[in-house]
């Protein structure tokens, strides 16, 4: 029996999680690699993604190179219930879900953490670019990754304190070029492999929502595409294929680049616009808030910064707890296509204060 602390590393087969595992080995952890199979084989077979067989074989190869135990864990039931179904429910509402937020909360630091505990490990490590830094009271708080281009804290805001306490992200303080350098130095078989991104579903032309509609045998509200003036341009077979600000795959030509301005759940109407200004907004509403500090009181305001999508520059804002379920966000500058269903994540500098789901804008 080993006296080293045991830790589970989510191994995708990519260079990030491989280096994370290797660094933990060097820090004298007893590392156990686990690759999650998120979809049944028949679904993932053709996809080049972190859930595919391709990733499993890569993960097996690097585990062999590192000399660590490696298990492939099927968690497609949990993934289907907590990520896919919930995502579909959001699409069916005419909104755009964020499956990565759900996956981090329910799968990578949910199901996998439970699984790690059955293996006698108290912590789960991943190759995420985010940092866990103790605050003055000793609580581990979520911060942006040091590499702001790769920062994945946006996708991690929904972890609770129990999950943050168990999360280890060895790459949080590093840049991607440095990661590749260290991986190459260590001679990892995948050092030069293409990035997998946080997204398991490389989606072209709305492939992910349509994939899920078929998977759940669901129906989606059909309707018409109209221009600003209400003129009917075309029919469409489901609102789930449209997201705010979308330009590609709309299927009509307006002479100028057109994008989705709004989606009406009741009528199925999708309004297109050629005026970018139509989609700028500096006032939005957020619910299902997950707040990492002291809970906000009704009427309380906080000055901070907000990000309404991954990779976006944070914009300063004032948030206000309007009622028990809703906060308003007034931004210092208008943002394009603040999209219902997506996450709004609040920061002070690198510190993640919390986040929630965007309901709509004014």
């Amino acid at each position: 029996m080993s006296n080293k602390p045991r830790i589970v590393v989510g191994l995708s087969g990519g260079v990030d999680s491989t280096l994370a595992a290797s660094m933990l080995l060097e820090q004298n952890y007893e590392v156990v690699g686990v690759t999650l199979r998120l979809l049944p084989c028949e679904d993932s077979g053709e996809r080049r993604s972190c859930c595919g067989l391709d990733g499993v074989a890569q993960a097996r190869a690097v585990a062999g190179q590192l000399g660590i135990r490696h298990y492939v864990a099927d968690c497609h039931d949990a993934f289907t219930d907590n990520v896919l179904k919930q995502s579909w429910n959001v699409y069916a509402q005419g909104m755009t879900p964020n499956p990565c937020v759900l996956c981090n909360r329910h799968i990578k630091f949910g199901w996998l953490l439970d699984f790690a505990k059955t293996l006698g490990a108290e912590q789960v490590a991943t190759g995420h670019y985010a940092q866990m830094i103790p605050d003055a009271t000793g609580h581990r708080r979520l911060h942006r990754g040091a590499d702001h281009k790769k920062d994945q804290s946006y996708f991690l805001y929904a972890l609770d304190q129990y999950q943050l306490d168990a999360a280890i992200m060895p790459l949080g303080g590093m840049t991607k070029p440095r990661v590749r350098e260290l991986a190459a130095e260590r001679g990892f078989v995948n050092a030069h492999r293409q990035d997998s991104q946080d997204v398991c579903f490389a989606v072209d032309n709305g492939g992910f929502p349509e994939f899920m509609r078929q998977r759940f045998g669901a129906t989606s509200k059909p309707g018409v595409l109209v221009d600003d003036a209400g003129k009917i341009l075309a029919q469409h077979d489901g609102i789930h294929k449209f997201t705010l600000g979308q330009r590609k795959g709309i299927g009509v030509a307006l002479g100028k680049p057109a994008f989705v301005k709004s989606v009406n759940l009741q009528t199925g109407a999708v309004v297109l616009s050629t005026e970018k200004a139509d989609l700028l907004s500096d006032h939005t509403f957020v619910r299902n808030l997950i707040w990492h500090g002291e809970p906000l009181q009704q009427g309380q305001e906080v000055e901070c910064e907000v990000q309404t999508r991954h990779g976006q520059k944070a914009v300063s804002c004032i948030i206000r707890q309007e009622n028990s379920d809703m906060i308003s966000v007034r931004l210092s500058e208008a943002l394009f296509a603040i999209t219902p269903g997506q996450a709004a994540v609040f920061y002070q500098g690198s510190l993640v204060l919390g986040g929630g789901s965007i309901v709509g804008t004014l």
Partner: protein, 383 residues
């Protein structure tokens, strides 16, 4: 890390003599046994020696041995033979619910072709009742296929009794003897079988080579079409190094049975008693039946067998659960379900399968690891 291997029912390490002979044959006898020239003749002699050794292991005639790629192919061949019969008339097959997947899935494929199949359940002690098998026979029954020793529990099945009942009605008898070779004395005449399957790697031979015993007089319909190898019963150039290794392993298995049994019984009692004194509520499956000496199937109430297996693996101890799927999505073993276990009980089962090279120290280390993992897994159960 110390590595402890307690999964001999999955596969066994080849003996040094086997490794030496496989290497020697591969290096020195490259000829195609079907060739008429010196190279072919040399290779053919290797084949003859191995065939004689294999036949000695099961008490058959040499020409009743057909070399295959392993028991899965052997089993498939038997069912291909049945499928050929089914093209001429309506046929029925009797098997058990606790067979290996190569039998169960072959039966399922036959059912797709309209063949009727009866699956007889095992009793609570893991035994198949020969009278129940007999009761399942119909005038259309052409084959009964029951394994000699079960892979999960080690329970030895009453093949000789089944054969008596079957032959009284002209029904062919097949047994998958994969888990019995080298563990109990084997004799096809005593068993009274018409077909018997073996895999070399279960008795310290190489992987990828096996035997189908076909009783003289049976016109086997081959599974593999091609040349006239194996007297037209299995086409394809013979795996001469593998077959040579099988021959050596067969000879060692035959000579070593009594030592094997003595040593494994000793180690298994140590493990079984140790577990029972640590966890008195542990269930032993197949304890009251005759078991092969090396197999111990135990249920740890309140523990997920998969989690226990992984916990031991992290400490370097290789054991097994009934049926291996992906970690995390643990299906209960069909063997334990076939013995009437509840789903929850079946999920709590792990299998230790020992080998004579295991040591008392390894058993102690395993008990210590169980002593750490089982209480922790139990305490986590209430979520």
């Amino acid at each position: 890390m110390n590595k402890i291997y307690l999964d001999h029912n999955a596969t066994t390490a080849p003996s040094p003599q086997v490794i030496a002979d496989v290497s020697r044959v591969m290096a020195e006898f490259f000829g195609n046994p079907s060739s008429q020239h010196w190279a072919g003749q040399d290779a053919k002699r290797i084949l003859d020696v191995a065939r004689a050794r294999a036949s000695k292991l099961i008490g058959s005639k040499a020409d009743e041995i057909v070399f295959t790629s392993g028991a899965t192919e052997s089993n498939n061949t038997v069912f291909a033979h049945v499928a050929a019969l089914a093209r001429k008339r309506s046929v029925h097959v009797v098997t058990s619910a606790i067979e290996h997947s190569s039998v169960l899935n072959s039966c399922a494929a036959l059912e797709q072709q309209g063949v009727k199949v009866t699956y007889v359940q095992a009793a609570w002690d893991g035994r198949i009742n020969a009278r129940q098998i007999e009761a399942a026979f119909t005038p259309e029954t052409v084959l009964v296929s029951v394994m000699l020793a079960n892979n999960d529990t080690g329970v030895i099945q009453p093949i000789a009794d089944i054969a008596v009942f079957a032959h009284a009605r002209g029904i062919l008898v097949h047994t998958d003897a994969v888990q019995a070779a080298g563990r109990i004395p084997l004799d096809v005449k005593t068993l009274g079988v018409d077909f018997l399957s073996l895999s070399a790697h279960k008795f310290c031979g190489p992987r990828g080579v096996g035997v189908l015993y076909v009783k003289s007089g049976i016109e086997l319909v081959p599974l593999m079409q091609g040349g006239k190898q194996e007297t037209a019963r299995r086409a394809g150039t013979e795996n001469i190094p593998g077959i040579a290794g099988l021959g050596v392993a067969a000879e060692q298995a035959q000579q070593g049975v009594s030592n094997y049994t003595q040593r494994c019984v000793q180690l298994r009692s140590l493990l079984q008693q140790g577990i029972l004194s640590l966890f008195p509520d542990t269930r032993i499956y197949g304890e009251t039946a005759d078991r092969v000496a090396n197999t111990l199937s135990m249920g740890f109430p309140g523990v997920d067998g998969m989690a226990l297996m992984l916990n031991l693996d992290i400490e370097g101890i290789a054991i097994s659960i009934g049926s291996a799927c992906g970690a995390g999505d643990h299906e209960p073993s069909h063997v334990h379900k076939g013995m009437g276990c509840t789903e929850e009980d079946a999920l709590s089962v792990v299998r230790f399968s020992l080998g004579p090279e295991n040591t008392e120290e390894e058993i102690d280390a395993t008990l210590a690891a169980l002593g750490r993992a089982v209480p922790r897994l139990r305490s986590m159960r209430v979520k």
